[in-house]
Every structure is written in structure tokens, then in C-alpha cells.
């Protein structure tokens, strides 16, 4: 099992990244982690998800958003977070399920797309791909977050 806290630097545990230190175009990852049945079960409970909605031919899948707690792994492992980051936007597509009855090894890669200021606030925009170790895609995302001054 890989808990997100085992691979994501936690706010305050190391020096956080200043806005100026993010680099547009910077490659993120690859970083690998295991999503286990126990994590899937914990996620079902944490987000009050309806298990019945995620059955495929009588096999229990995880909510595809089970990857969200791992979402920032690619960027935070390269750019540890400061306190007070606020998420602004997420665009996510799912390609293949994570099953609730097996451990899935996920490989995450990404790239910083751009950094910008809007209404006096500073933002980081980046993308990531999550795939099985075999290369089969699981999910892709583009995320924007606000870095506190």
C-alpha cells in the first residue's frame, strides 16, 4: 500500500516552493505508487461514495476519482507545497478503471504548463498522466492551484 502521505511532501515538513521557483515546461515524475483495496475502501468512506454506482459486470471498481488524493504527487514531489495552497480548477478524464479487489501500481508523470497572475493572485497550471506499469492509461488531468504570497 502507498498512502498519499508516504510519497507527497506534507506542508511544513520541508521548505515549501515559492512561486518564482516553479518552472514552466518542467517535467514531473515518473513517480510510482500502489492503490490497494484498503485505500479504495477508505476512499469510498471518506467521500461517502455509493459503491453500487461503480460495479462493472458484478466486479467492484473504485470511483475513478480515487486518484484525487494522489493528484498532486507528481508536482509536489518536485515542488514541495507551502502552507495555504488553494485549488482552483481541475479537468480530469478517465480511461480505465482501478479495481477494488486488486492492487494497482500507478505511474504518474506530468509537466508544468504555465504560471500566471490573475487579480493579484499567483497560479500554477500543470498536467499529469496516470498509467498502469504496463503503460495502459488510467487517467489524465490538468490542474490549476493558487500559491499564497
Amino acid at each position: 500500500m502507498t498512502r498519499p502521505s508516504e510519497i507527497k511532501p506534507r506542508e511544513g515538513s520541508v521548505r515549501g516552493t515559492l512561486y518564482e521557483e516553479f518552472e514552466e515546461g518542467a517535467r514531473l515524475g515518473p513517480v510510482s505508487f500502489d492503490v490497494t483495496p484498503a485505500i479504495v475502501e477508505e476512499y469510498f468512506n471518506a467521500v461517502s461514495a455509493d459503491r453500487a454506482l461503480y460495479k462493472v459486470d458484478d466486479r467492484q471498481a473504485a470511483p475513478p476519482n480515487v486518484l484525487l488524493p494522489y493528484m498532486t504527487v507528481p508536482i509536489y514531489t518536485k515542488y514541495p507545497p507551502n502552507q495555504g495552497i488553494v485549488m482552483a480548477e481541475l479537468d480530469m478524464s478517465w480511461h480505465n478503471p482501478i479495481w477494488a479487489d486488486e492492487t494497482t501500481t500507478v505511474v504518474a508523470t506530468g509537466r508544468v504548463l504555465r504560471k500566471f497572475e490573475k487579480r493579484g493572485r499567483r497560479y500554477i497550471n500543470w498536467e499529469a498522466t496516470f498509467a498502469r506499469a504496463s503503460g495502459e492509461p488510467i487517467a489524465t488531468l490538468v490542474n490549476t492551484f493558487h500559491v499564497p504570497e
Binding site: 471518506a46 461503480y54 470511483p63 476519482n65 493528484m71 478517465w94
Partner: protein, 111 residues
């Protein structure tokens, strides 16, 4: 279709445990007030998860293979709020919390 959830600090803490963050904006009421919010904040991806359930309900198993969920977090969601998220027939997502719009977006299937 619509979903209504009463938000508690315990829910935020539970998401924080699996999320593995230590961002005090989710856990320190006084810090959140100092940042100009009404209280501690529900994680944005936690809001997204509530909307994702509606996508799964609408699209069935195709959601797992072709689901596309776009969410923009535009307002705070705090403990004691009633969070109401709605998925319209055209795939538009809108959520309100504490009487204000908290999230907008889109839940659709990709070709």
C-alpha cells in the same frame, strides 16, 4: 439530478487523512478566518468527488472508461454548510454551499 451533503469538520478531517496533506487551511479555524474565509475549507477535490458520483449515476459504467469531469472551485465550503451539487441534462455541474456558488463544471463522456 441532485445531491445534498451536510458538511462537517469530521468529513474534512477524514478526507485529509487519506489525502495526506497538512495544509492548515483545512484544519485551523483561526488561520482560515485570517485568510478571509468563513471557516476551514473542504478540499476542492472532495467537492469534485461529490460531483463524480452524479456522473457515475448518469453515465453508468461508461463513466469509468470515458468520463470527463471538469470542476472549478470558486467559493468556500465550510463546516455546517449544506453542500448541494446538481448535474443538469446537458452535463453542467453546479454546486452551492452556504447559499453561494462553490463549484461549477461539466460532467460528460468523451468520444
Amino acid at each position: 439530478m441532485k445531491r445534498e451533503i451536510d458538511i462537517t469538520q469530521e468529513m474534512i478531517d477524514g478526507y485529509g487523512r487519506i489525502n495526506g496533506d497538512n495544509d492548515i487551511i483545512h484544519y485551523d479555524h483561526d488561520y482560515a478566518l485570517a485568510r478571509g474565509f468563513r471557516g476551514t475549507l473542504l478540499h476542492g477535490p472532495h467537492m469534485t468527488a461529490f460531483a463524480a458520483d452524479l456522473g457515475a449515476k448518469r453515465y453508468g459504467k461508461e463513466w469509468l472508461y470515458r468520463g470527463h469531469l471538469k470542476t472549478k472551485w470558486i467559493g468556500p465550503v465550510c463546516p455546517k454548510d449544506r453542500f448541494v451539487v446538481e448535474l443538469s441534462d446537458d452535463g453542467t455541474v453546479k454546486a452551492e454551499s452556504g447559499g453561494d456558488v462553490a463549484m461549477v463544471g461539466l460532467a460528460t463522456l468523451k468520444d
